[in-house]
Subunit: 627 residues, 2 copies
């Protein structure tokens, strides 16, 4: 009877244009405590009848993992594993999920949306949050330098056991615990020992100025529960956190990126519009091996009144091995524990030369286990391990055979004999993205604003950026993350950058442009090309404005730099602009208002050639010898 | 050319009976450092040509995980995950792997043999070991009661970091570490914090007498490296370990069962003959959802001269959801960190009643995530959660739909309305095994000798048993492990049991027969049926010989019990034989030579009926009231 009614409803919902809408009101969704099975059923029905839209009546919906389907997902830069999901959008085409402005509240370990092998999918008008976050936020209410302890107040669930503090998720879904008591509680649940910690400042709603001073070790932190909600932490720190600051911990490395909000894989023509991500136990959106993705008003933002300091526990957004165009516009990214976006490819590395045509290649970083580097037909090139330069013309992958999550055999259309050595990189040049990033706000997050590593055309304009580390990190490496590739046509204009690089960790720079994990003193050749930075307003309290290494064709033009007194400079003696091993650079038309009225400094090393620095600029050039 | 030669060889190897043998000598295996890819290739060839045998020339072979294929395995009572293997015996039939007496040495995390969807497979004439074990064995060379510390000497790889001691595996397969140094070393590798610890006595080569006194907590153990190979441990213990004892740690719970030696799933007619397992980072052999398995001289034994105290870090063998007959004969199981064998089913539990025919059922214990409870056509019955009694006639599974690794929907052929409640169990009665266990030796292992929980006919005879806990554990529960089902025809005869139950943990018994995690004072009905224990020789230093609860049809006859002075009794006041809530029991013809010449004690509670105790027995009966 119920089925008949449903079918009838579906028929009624069909419109004149053949557009069928599944309305979750017809599934009695408003009366369900756990809507996961309802949504899963509705998606199944949608596929069956070829519906165009899944429509939610506006409301607040709770999603539990108990009856969620699952899928083994290998997600680059996040943690792999069996993942439960409420929206298994696998093989969906020409389909819209419309939340009508609803709040989706998730519970426990799950990935709200898994979008794979799909095309022309739009997700709109909804927010994603978790009832209990994948982190602890503890207000520092006491500290004791003599004893090297401090006390935190924690309002979300936690466990103190064995002298350690554990982040835990809610436990209401445990009938066994209700029936049999706490005996099974510890290992039934998510319990992540406190690690990867950072201190936040509720006055600025951002990481503490000079965050590095308050670094805690990631392991071996002792904890004692003084009373419910009050925990004494003993650890070794350079400086104890100030009263009123907030300790944020997301738990142990390689275990704390289980649950991004959106997982996108092997899909194209996706749009995310009017979506708010208030929290996720990993990234907000991670897309890989996909094509043409638009984020329009995709906001990773604190929920008003939540009292939380932090949104996502990793990057707001991240695009790897994506082609076509990535568009991010009209979006706000705030209070993440990592970058606002990172657009890049991933080099694999040569583990073994099998024969003249075939290599065993390896992904190295554990967050790249199972990474799909390429498929038959992709164009690739070999990259020299020392200088990150292409060593071959473009080659075509004739065959890709995965051996295991680290190793694949790849076979080329042409011999690579003599052109490749063990540890060299291989870059997939078919899967690089163009990008347009405009009208976005980035603020109050740990780490960087934008990491861009793609040779396709990229425009970044009209953004307001204020992140704890570099505003722009343009790099590539064959050492740790193995992120490819170089930038070869990047325009950064009309952005306002305000008091970034306040974390104190390492010499950061507003514009930090250099290949990493290379021998910088002996690096030969250019890495990136054609980077134009113009008409930006840069308000900064610290000294380092740009480090550009190994760029061919750099324009730094008509930028207005204003020194602020927001904070005391952390690296006051750093040269403002450093040009290292560049060629064809133009620095002109820039102004620099320093607090003491002095001129800015600009250094050009003796390996650089054809560098034009305007005499009328506010930067005083000094020649430096390459070390 | 090489291929042609190989094909030629294969043709030559074909015998007159159509038996084709793949001889690894033809693959130049003796010259390979890592034979994994060679074996994987040979198995592929074997399948291609329909070979009957994979034959190794006698030798020592090293298997690395680097180029090993992998498979996501959900392995009951072990840890699930992506598993690399050297012998992916998937869909092999009428096939023999003959090692010719070779030693197979494994390196790192891998499962040597994965046997799935196969039939009539024999593995013979080989040994399995690991170069570096999944555990630390540390000789106690100093202890300091004032400081509550002790020092251990460790010869295998380990890491001390963050004040903790980590078990690690070898690292030779890390080109990155060789090239880039230790920077990536910590998280590139297997690093398991010391936990699940036990102390061994090198004089007896067994766990320390009264092991429980030396229990360490599983977390929060502080470690300091005094010099290379010498580590000071600070922890809280009732008693510090004696000098000369050996601390064995396998690391943290739920992470230390990654790598059993043999994984068997959905296979039948398997034989393991003349196989030695010297070590495994989990069980020696775990078989589930399989049929008719014979172990003949399948030995889990220390390798001579290895200097190790421990073989497998979990059970030597384990059979779950197996039908047909399990035969274990002529085998030695020594020095495991868990039982010699455990033959049982697994109850699932009712999470939700969906409709009159359908239940959502759940596996509870995290070591049963993904457990395949049943398939269409299996006979099952509902089990009452309080008294573990069948509540329905046998029902047939019409449909099984897995939702995720915890939850499945199962649909019956008949309505179950009113016959089932949430938390009740469901037992799969199609998949219980008969068993024959004869001429085996069990010794020097932590935990039990045999756990048997199956209603099919089982004979256990002519074994020599000496384990740290009970020799026979006959049980079932709906509380923790959810192991089914009752025994209903078990003969235990002509075994020699010598000085078991020396661990000191809980009141153990040579024969420990009772359902667990039930309200024992209010348990109604019988659990198991027809257990005959006769003609056994039981040499024991402690008091408890048998606890039998809720058995209908128990015979304890003609057993010879001899008290030894090997150790001081740990539980001297325990009644020797306890009969609780039994009926139709016969105790006769037994002798008991106690050291002080007194009679043994035997208690029968007032809930038991039709209990016949021979007056001529060496046990003096005392009636007890049920508490």
């Amino acid at each position: 009877m119920k089925k008949l009614f449903l079918l009838l409803t579906l028929l009624i919902m069909s419109t004149g244009y053949g557009q069928k809408v599944i309305n979750l009101a017809d599934y009695d969704i408003q009366n369900e405590k756990d809507v996961t099975p309802v949504v899963v059923k509705a998606l199944k029905d949608a596929k069956e009848i070829g519906a165009s839209t899944l429509l939610f009546p506006k409301g607040t919906y709770h999603f539990y993992p108990t009856f969620a389907p699952e899928r083994y997902c290998e997600i680059t830069n996040n943690d792999n594993g069996l993942k439960r999901t409420a929206f298994p959008l696998i093989d969906f085409h020409d389909f819209v999920v419309d939340g009508s402005g609803s709040d989706f509240i998730f519970h426990g370990k799950m990935i709200p949306f898994i979008i794979e092998e799909s095309s022309n999918v739009k997700v709109t008008n909804l927010s994603v949050d978790w009832e209990v976050p994948f982190m602890i936020e503890g207000l520092v209410v006491a500290n004791n330098p003599t004893e090297e302890t401090f006390d935190i107040e924690v309002k979300t669930p936690y466990v103190v056991a064995h002298g350690h503090l554990y982040i835990t998720l809610e436990r209401e879904d445990s009938p066994y615990e209700r029936k049999y008591g706490k005996r099974f509680a510890f290992w039934e649940h998510y319990n992540l020992e406190v690690g990867q910690n950072i201190f936040w400042d509720p006055k600025t709603m951002a990481p503490l100025y000079n965050t590095k001073l308050y670094n805690m070790p990631e392991k071996g932190i002792h904890a004692e529960e003084l009373k419910k909600g009050l925990i004494r932490i003993s650890t070794q720190m350079k400086k104890l956190p100030p009263l009123g600051s907030v300790m944020v911990s997301k738990g142990e490395y390689l275990q704390n990126r289980t649950s991004p909000a959106f997982r996108v894989f092997k899909s194209k023509d996706l749009e995310f519009k009017n979506v708010n991500v208030h929290h996720a136990g990993a990234m907000g959106l991670i897309a890989e091996r996909s094509e043409d993705i638009t984020l329009d008003s995709f906001n990773v933002v604190l929920r008003e009144g939540s009292g939380r300091m932090v949104t996502t526990t990793a990057d707001a957004t991240h695009f790897c091995n994506v082609k076509g165009t990535v568009t991010i516009k009209n979006s706000t990214f705030e209070n993440m524990l990592d970058d606002a976006t990172n657009i890049h490819g991933t080099y694999v590395r040569v583990n073994k030369i099998i024969d003249d045509y075939t290599l065993a290649v390896e992904t190295y970083h554990p967050h790249q286990n199972g990474y799909l580097f390429g498929e038959e037909g992709d164009k690739v090139q070999v990259i020299d391990q020392k200088n990150l330069q292409p060593m071959t013309e473009p080659l075509v992958l004739k065959k890709v055979e995965r051996v295991n999550e680290k190793i694949s055999y790849i076979t080329f259309n042409k011999p690579i004999k003599g052109k490749v050595q063990v540890y060299d990189g291989v870059e997939n040049i078919s899967w690089h993205a163009s990008a347009v990033l405009e009208n976005n706000i980035v603020r109050n997050n740990r780490a960087r604003s934008f990491l861009i590593s793609t040779p396709r055309k990229v425009v970044v304009r009209n953004n307001r950026l204020s992140s704890q580390m570099a505003s722009f990190r343009l790099t590539g490496d064959l050492g740790l993350w193995n992120e490819s590739g170089p930038n070869e046509g990047l325009l950064i204009e009309n952005n306002i950058i305000e008091d970034a690089v306040y974390g104190g960790n390492g010499p950061q720079s507003i514009f930090l442009i250099d290949p990493q994990y290379v021998d910088k003193d002996n690096f030969e050749g250019m890495y990136s090309r054609n980077i134009i930075i113009r008409n930006n307003t840069i308000k900064t309290f610290d000294s380092s404005i740009m480090l550009a290494m190994s760029v061919d064709g750099l324009v730094f033009e008509n930028n207005e730099v204003i020194q602020t007194n927001t904070y005391k400079p952390i690296f006051p003696n750093t040269t403002n602009i450093r040009i290292v091993n560049c060629k064809n650079a133009v620095i002109k038309g820039n102004t620099y208002k320093k607090l003491d009225g002095s001129k800015g400094t600009l250094s050009v090393d003796n390996q650089s050639t054809a560098i034009e620095v305007s005499k009328r600029d506010d930067f005083k050039e000094v020649k430096t010898m390459k070390k």
